[in-house]
């Protein structure tokens, strides 16, 4: 599209260059409204968070922008915050690991069906997961509650009543449920695109099914594994709705903690520093994603 043809026969280099410039200006004009919108309502707010993270909080909860300092960042290294970060990291990593173990065979199953069935199976994954996140999470609180379905089933089999709601286990179940599609789709794309003749070659050379999988299929689908893991890890780390509904008061995670700084504790500088630090963690994850070439999936 860059080398757009001139309609006249005698297109001189000057004319072509002028046409190219005109086209470039037109492209810029078409992009301008959304560019401006994103600068005002996304880039500027992002910079404001950065500025606020260096500000200080007055005794009445107002933010003082006059003297910049690193106090809010210093607070990130206190034991309480460290514990919250660690808990969130462990939970996000567990969510990612469970999703990976369950979704790899699942994606493999979908990718190895015929084209029609494959499409149906994919749509069946997409529909629940594009639908209302809040409600889907709520459905679990209703299952995991003290007189919920999970407990009733346990009692029906002669077990103790179980109340999983408001525990970390409940949050883990909710996050696995909520973020699974981020894992399924890249894995599916990677496996579906695989060069199956290589697997065939391995089998022809007397590799067992398992060896062929381990030495050929798995390495070839690695970009999907990395992409899926990062796509689950990032939202799991910043999760707010799931812990707010399924988690307990004693198990604060980064997401709740940040929201608390803004909506109840009124410590905007500290909340901003927390936001910047999780954005930084996510930036690292995204860089790994681009470095690994997984974006081509």
């Amino acid at each position: 599209m860059a080398s757009r043809q001139m309609t006249t026969q005698e297109a001189t280099p000057e004319l072509e260059a002028a046409a190219e410039r005109a086209r470039s200006r037109r492209g810029f004009r078409i992009a301008l409204p959304s560019f401006a919108y994103l600068v005002i309502f996304f880039v500027l707010p992002l910079l404001l968070v950065l500025v606020y993270s260096f500000a200080s909080r007055s005794s009445t909860g107002l933010t003082l922008l006059e003297d910049w300092n690193l106090d809010s960042y210093g607070r990130l290294f206190t034991p309480l915050v460290g514990e919250i970060f660690l808990r969130s990291l462990v939970l996000a990593l567990s969510t990612t690991a469970i999703c990976l173990v369950v979704c790899y065979p699942f994606a493999y199953y979908i990718a190895t069906r015929g084209p029609t069935l494959r499409n149906v199976l994919l749509v069946l994954v997409m529909i629940p997961f594009w639908s209302n996140f809040l409600v889907r999470t709520y459905a679990w609180s209703f299952i995991l509650g003290s007189d919920g379905i999970a407990s009733q089933i346990s009692q029906a089999f002669g077990g103790e009543p179980v109340r999983l709601l408001f525990t970390n286990t409940a949050v883990l179940i909710g996050m696995v449920y909520g973020f699974m599609p981020f894992m399924v789709l890249p894995l599916y794309a990677a496996i579906e695109r695989l060069d199956w003749s290589l697997v065939e070659a391995a089998r022809d050379l007397y590799a067992s099914g398992w060896t062929a999988f381990r030495k050929v299929t798995l390495p070839l689908s690695m970009p999907g594994v990395i992409a899926g893991s990062i796509l689950v890890f990032i939202p799991a780390l910043g999760a707010y709705v799931t812990p707010a509904i399924l988690g307990g008061a004693r198990t604060t995670l980064i997401g709740d903690y940040i929201v608390g700084q803004f909506l109840s504790a009124r410590n905007w500088p500290f909340g901003s520093a927390l936001s910047i630090s999780i954005m930084f963690l996510m930036l690292i994850a995204t860089l790994i994603y681009f470095r690994s070439g997984a974006r081509n999936v």
């Binding site: 810029f28 994103l38 594009w130």
Partner: protein, 292 residues
């Protein structure tokens, strides 16, 4: 389909069993919620007899109805704005080269990647500062409400619309557009008669996605709504945090069914293909961190 592709014997049966379990995991909570929403009992988890009691209660609840009205206003306004802006963005990025294109390309995808909590924090600070500034400069005392919620929803929806429309634009090259230009169509005519009809399924799919995301958003809305202007998901979120009630079940089912319908239509439109496209199934856009 080569022999190596489809595993046979016990491996295939294990894979199939795993797939069944995953689908049960996906759909069982939804099915249970729908089933219990028709329960007459005050106690959520003991089923006595089927009734529409809680649906009737929902329709008589003024706060729910006013939150619903707010949700619809915000969703339609933000969908219209973000569909226009997002489509323009997709065309500019996919069809033109210009200075700053690389930068714009990067910025355009950030609202999809960034978690809701950080997006909410950013916009809360931004509106707080902006409203203060407008008050200082012009003496106009603005407040957060439906206006700020709409502006915030447009900020994340532009990116989603752009991704969907761009995927559609990438499916055909600009040969048809060039042919129209060669036949002396003006640029506007080319857009109206050639480009727009071709990308229409993408634009409609993107618009429905924007509508769904706007109707579902809790976190960003909670940050920018201020006093008095609550959307349905934010109101329901507040109710849920106070405890499980049969009324929430009914409202939830309505929200769930509405969003599932929108998603199904959106997916159908995104998969609409022009003749001659290959049969290869494609993976639709990766879902974003809904409510993450």
């Amino acid at each position: 389909m080569s022999d190596q592709r489809t595993p046979r014997g016990p491996v295939n049966r294990l894979l199939a069993a795993n797939a069944w379990l995953v689908y049960i995991f996906f759909y069982a909570p939804i099915a249970l919620l729908i089933f219990f929403s028709f329960n007459d009992n005050e106690n959520v988890s003991i089923f006595t007899e089927p009734s529409l009691r809680w649906y009737r209660a929902m329709l008589e609840d003024d706060r729910i109805l006013s939150a619903l009205r707010n949700s619809l206003i915000v969703a339609f306004a933000s969908t219209i704005i973000s569909t226009i802006l997002g489509t323009m963005l997709a065309i500019a990025l996919e069809r033109y080269r210009f200075r700053g294109r690389g930068l714009l390309d990067g910025i355009a995808y950030m609202p999809i990647i960034i978690p809701d909590v950080t997006m909410g924090v950013m916009l809360l600070i931004f509106f707080f500062q902006a409203i203060g500034l407008i008050d200082d400069l012009f003496g106009i005392g603005l407040r957060t409400g439906l206006g700020t919620i709409t502006l915030a929803h447009v900020a994340f929806n532009i990116s989603f619309v752009a991704v969907v429309v761009r995927a559609r634009l990438a499916q055909f090259d600009d040969a048809l557009e060039e042919a129209a230009a060669d036949l002396y169509a003006t640029r506007w005519q080319t857009f109206r008669r050639v480009t727009l009809p071709l990308i229409a399924p993408g634009v409609a799919g993107g618009a429905l996605l924007a509508l769904t995301l706007s109707l579902d958003d809790v976190v960003v809305t909670q940050f920018v709504s201020g006093q008095g202007a609550t959307t349905l998901p934010v109101y329901v979120f507040g109710l849920i945090r106070r405890g499980v009630t049969p009324l929430i079940n009914a409202v939830s089912v309505v929200m769930l069914v509405a969003s599932m319908l929108l998603v199904a239509i959106s997916l159908g439109l995104q998969r609409t293909r022009s003749k001659g496209d290959e049969e290869e199934p494609d993976v639709p856009l990766t879902p974003q961190q809904q409510g993450a």
